[in-house]
Amino acid sequence: MVRVEDLTVAYGGIEAVRGVSLEVGEGELVTLIGNNGAGKTSTLMAISGMAPIRSGRIVIDGEETTKLPPHAIVARGVAHCPEGRLVFGRLTVQENLRLGAYQRKDSAGVKQDLDRVYALFPRLLERRSQLAGTLSGGEQQMLAIGRALMSRPRLLMLDEPSLGLAPLIVQRIFSVIQQLHEEGVTILLVEQNAHLALTVADRAYVLETGEVRLAGPAKQLIDNPEVRKAYLSQ
């Protein structure tokens, strides 16, 4: 589905990602874990065309997308849900969701997906005419995920969906992620909560200072002594 080859991302002179290669197969749930500044967010931003790529290639469905602008990458089925629940505060919940389907022309399909998002997150249905800026943190995260789903993506990239949320809401959001995975959506998940991420993922990459340190099936990494020591504090 998506293949990243020897990617280097640099902001001015500072390299945030240094020669990362990774792959997400059709229907897989892959997670990137690692500490702050490991390059997880920059990797996602590079895939969706929003980070300055110095070298390397990004291939989506066999087509190179390295130099494409963000809107062209969205058109190829990628939905990026950025870190920090970036909702459009002065638009209503429903307007936010409709913007998620900005490039779509099939209004019947959009309506269907709107119902699907409301079914996944009934809270959003209750608050659909409320301004998104007035939602709680957890509701904003639900909205950000729902908005990403509205383009009917084939690759969903989630950046820190659990950040700063109460445990109960994190649970709700992760059960939705699992449900989407079971429905066959390809997911690339960036998460600081390594334990949680490794529990739901098929495979994982461990990033450290911009490089891939470890990679493998999530079940194996969760038992890896190095990972346990560094990321699971056990």
């Binding site: 969706s48 602008p69 058109a75 002065r90 409709r98 913007l99 998620g100 900005y102 383009s151």
Partner: protein, 347 residues
């Protein structure tokens, strides 16, 4: 009773048709008021009224860029100047051109076109200038547009001052046919409001607001940020160019210094006081802040006659008003909300 219900429902279904009807009624009302004004007011008040129409065009169209798309353009004066010069050069009578503009290209010297196409041409030239400025600058994130449009203002002024053959330099263009009046300025104002309203309520308008609210998320959801920002900027430049033409044919004389930063400042204040992101706010802001300095000027005159000359008072009061709005009501009078005209149905 059931028949009444039925007719109510039918009206709801035909919301668009009904809006057209009600909108037509409002335009008829406006026309009646303008006609009344025309037949009762003297020339001084009619001119103020025409200027109100021009300021509505400028404020409402600037709102597209500065209010909805979240950019900050200071290009009003430059675009007005381009529109004014273009339209004036096109509408001047041929006899006057041969006398006053010996250096003008012959095809232009031999042409004189009516007010409406000249005005549209003025708008188009301003829009082309906006594309040239906007294309490189609107790629960048941040308020580079403010700096670039200020630069444009300087460039336009220098060109107007030095391109003697076409602009007559600092002497300016005199004797522009006095074709502009309240009908033209309010006609264009209604068109501006209609176009801006349509854009704001289209997917493009939603995308503009999304960019304003969160640049990154808008990009991540597939909004073509450059194209959307450019659309807002170019449309607002077009209407500023139109306003420039209306102004030139109202005052009948323009010089490079007719379009100074003061105009830009005044329109930005009208927009801020009315409330960015509200079309009705822009209209009210434009009306209030055209009338207020005009009435203060009469106070100035009266004070001067009474022995206390306080010229410039109106400018100071406007600047103070802008500062007060910024401190106590930063969202402006309307704070991004609209007043819905009674009788209109929401789409």
């Amino acid at each position: 009773m059931s028949r009444a219900m039925e007719s109510v429902r039918r009206v709801n279904i035909n919301g668009a048709a009904r809006n057209l009807l009600v909108g037509g009624a409002y335009i008829a009302l406006l026309a009646t008021l303008l006609w009344l004004a025309q037949s009762t007011l003297n020339n001084y008040y009619l001119r103020i009224l025409a200027v109100i129409g021009i300021n509505i065009i400028l404020t409402v169209s600037l709102n597209l860029t500065n209010g909805f798309a979240g950019d900050f353009s200071l290009g009003i004066a430059a675009f007005m100047s381009i529109g004014a010069y273009t339209a004036a050069l096109l509408s001047l009578p041929v006899a006057m051109k041969t006398a006053s503009f010996p250096g003008l290209p012959t095809w232009l010297q031999a042409t004189s076109i009516p007010f409406l196409p000249a005005t549209i041409a003025g708008g188009v030239m301003a829009a082309i200038a906006a594309v040239i400025v906007g294309l490189p600058v609107l790629r960048l994130r941040g308020h580079y547009l403010a700096v670039a449009t200020l630069g444009l203002m300087v460039i336009v002024r220098v060109v107007a001052n030095n391109w003697q053959d076409v602009t007559r330099g600092a002497r300016g263009i005199n004797g522009i046919p006095p074709l502009s009046n309240i009908w033209w300025t309010f006609g264009w104002a209604v068109l501006t409001i209609y176009v801006v309203w349509m854009v704001v309520h289209s997917p493009y308008g939603r995308a503009m607001i999304a960019i304003r609210e969160d640049w990154l998320a808008a990009q991540a959801r597939g909004v073509n940020v450059l194209r959307t920002r450019l659309l807002a900027f170019v449309l607002s430049a077009f209407f500023a160019g139109v306003a420039g033409s209306l102004y030139a044919h109202l005052i009948t004389a323009i010089t490079p210094s007719s379009f100074s930063f003061v105009i830009t400042f005044n329109i930005v204040v009208m927009l801020v006081v009315g409330g960015m992101g509200s079309i009705t706010g822009s209209v009210i802001g434009a009306v209030l802040l055209t009338l207020l300095p005009e009435s203060l000027r009469q106070v100035e005159t009266a004070l001067a006659a009474g022995g206390t000359p306080l010229y410039g008072l109106s400018q100071i009061i406007i600047a103070l008003l802008a500062a007060l709005v910024m401190i106590f009501r930063r969202q402006g009078l309307f704070g991004g909300r609209e007043i819905r005209l009674p009788g209109m149905v929401e789409r």
